[in-house]
Amino acid sequence: MTQLQTTEVPAAKNPSLAPPDKLAVTLIVNGVEQTLRLAPWTTLLDALRDHLNLTGTKKGCDHGQCGACTVLVEGRRINSCLTFAVMQDGARITTIEGLARNGVLHPLQQAFTDHDAFQCGYCTPGQICSAAGLLAEGKPLTRDEIREAMSGNICRCGAYPNIVAAIEQAMGRT
């Protein structure tokens, strides 16, 4: 977790040098309500990984540039590295761990396996959550449109063609 850094900040400019109280934050994660006590600078990503031990959501860049941290908040895909957990107080969050139902893979998980849509797998949870958000957006999409709509998810292994094919399968196209 991010360490408290106060040394460089002149006291006069920062009236709140003492660590602020931790804040109670309630998140409904994959259907389970969880109340945590978090410092305000805890990102949603760090709350999931470090406080709830849900390490399926990955930290790639931590700056919004890769999409590995994509989760669904109220069904919408976002980058969990660029929002503080406290800002999401009360929200329903879905992570990769919450997509399967009763031991049955989500259609996107199945499609990614069927199409071998990964190599190292590090980007995959973000890809799948992003694709789930995309499907929920409900627009029929051409191949070009899927590629564009998924451009917020970088895959260092370059599994893109199979990722697009997997999403097409999950859309009922193939």
Partner: protein, 338 residues
């Protein structure tokens, strides 16, 4: 990231009085720019005032034809809003050209207006930057300046404003509504952002205790003849090297009115009224568009690594005007440039 504390505003009035009471505090909306800059220690607000839940997220028709856009609507929702799709497609296209699906779900209109430059030295605490620390010097002027400004730059700063949305808003003559501790005011979008001059630490003319509440679009949306053409190093998920929002009002093949705004070339979305005025009554053809492009860039100045942007900008202006005149706007998914 420094230690900070967090409060949630309960109303626009509450947000403004809280920020006035706590110097250095900052509003946070989508967080996509501020959280990033806080992680880099470029922004070090001792307090965040969360405005993301304020009910400023509606898109409403204005009597007489315009549109009022709440400052907190997400970029994705604004791009998909029916009045934008039908009457202001230039704005919808510019929004879709920016960032990614995830980021557009988070980013607000107010935050997009206020987003800071992507100059790499601005992000790098180990190098001097007048925008970060006035008086320290500008590392980009003689450094890596391939993406930097060709118009309106100063000795102190050669940064560009990175927004796509703002380029379309500039072309549409949008008005920014803000609210301070005692009163509200309205600024033309073209007066909202500043040129760097010798105070590059100030990106905009917004006061630190003012809240952006809405953006207003005048009735004229140029839905028949428009194009948003963004040129970048890769086809998606990258900031513009150059972008052009072009809009035409045509009478047959004569130009009744032309609007041209450029992104990625200056510290603010770039418009030039003299160039647009000179296009009135002229035929909508390659000669007119070429002359306009040359005139727009007549004062352009290159740095060591960005001379290519002058020609690129000129060609992008001509291409975007051609697409607009034909009624075939640039697709934001099929990236082939027609």
């Amino acid at each position: 990231m420094i230690n900070f504390d967090y409060v949630r505003a309960t109303s626009a009035a509450d947000a403004v009085s809280r920020i006035a009471a706590f110097p250095g505090a900052k509003f946070i909306a989508g967080g996509t720019n501020l959280v990033d800059l806080m992680k880099e220690d470029v922004e070090r607000p001792p307090r965040l005032i969360d405005i993301s839940r304020l009910p400023l997220n509606r898109v409403e028709d204005i009597q007489g034809g315009g549109l009022r856009i709440g400052a907190l609507i997400a970029n994705a929702d604004l791009a998909g809003a029916p009045p934008v799709a039908q009457r202001y497609p230039l704005l919808g296209d510019a929004l879709r050209a920016g960032a990614s699906g995830q980021l557009r779900n988070m980013a607000s209109v107010g935050g997009n207006l206020m987003q800071r430059t992507r100059c790499c030295y601005f992000y790098d605490l180990a190098t001097p930057c007048n925008k970060r620390r006035p008086g320290d010097g500008c590392s980009a002027r003689d450094g890596l300046n391939r993406a930097h400004a060709i118009l309106g730059a100063s000795v102190a700063c050669v940064a560009t404003h990175p927004s796509d949305m703002c380029v379309a808003l500039a072309a549409l003559d949008a008005i920014v509504h803000v609210r301070g501790p005692t009163e509200g005011r309205a600024l033309a979008l073209t007066d909202f952002h500043r040129l760097p001059g010798d105070t590059p630490d100030r990106d905009t003319n917004l006061e630190p205790d003012e809240l952006i509440t809405a953006v207003e679009l005048p009735p004229k949306g140029f839905a028949e003849h428009y194009s948003y053409l963004k040129i970048r190093d890769r086809l998606s998920y990258a900031f513009a090297l150059v972008s052009v929002a072009a809009a035409l009002d045509l009478d047959g093949d004569r130009i009744r009115e032309a609007r041209i705004a450029l992104g990625g070339v200056a510290h603010k979305p770039w418009r030039d009224a003299r160039v647009e005025d000179a296009m009135r009554g002229e035929p909508a053809n390659a000669a007119t568009f070429g002359a306009a492009a040359q005139a727009l860039l007549r004062d352009a100045r290159a740095l060591a690594h960005n001379a290519f942007k002058i020609d690129l900008a000129a060609r992008t202006v001509v291409r975007a005007l051609t697409q607009a005149a034909r009624g075939t706007p640039q697709s934001q998914t099929d990236k082939r440039i027609g």
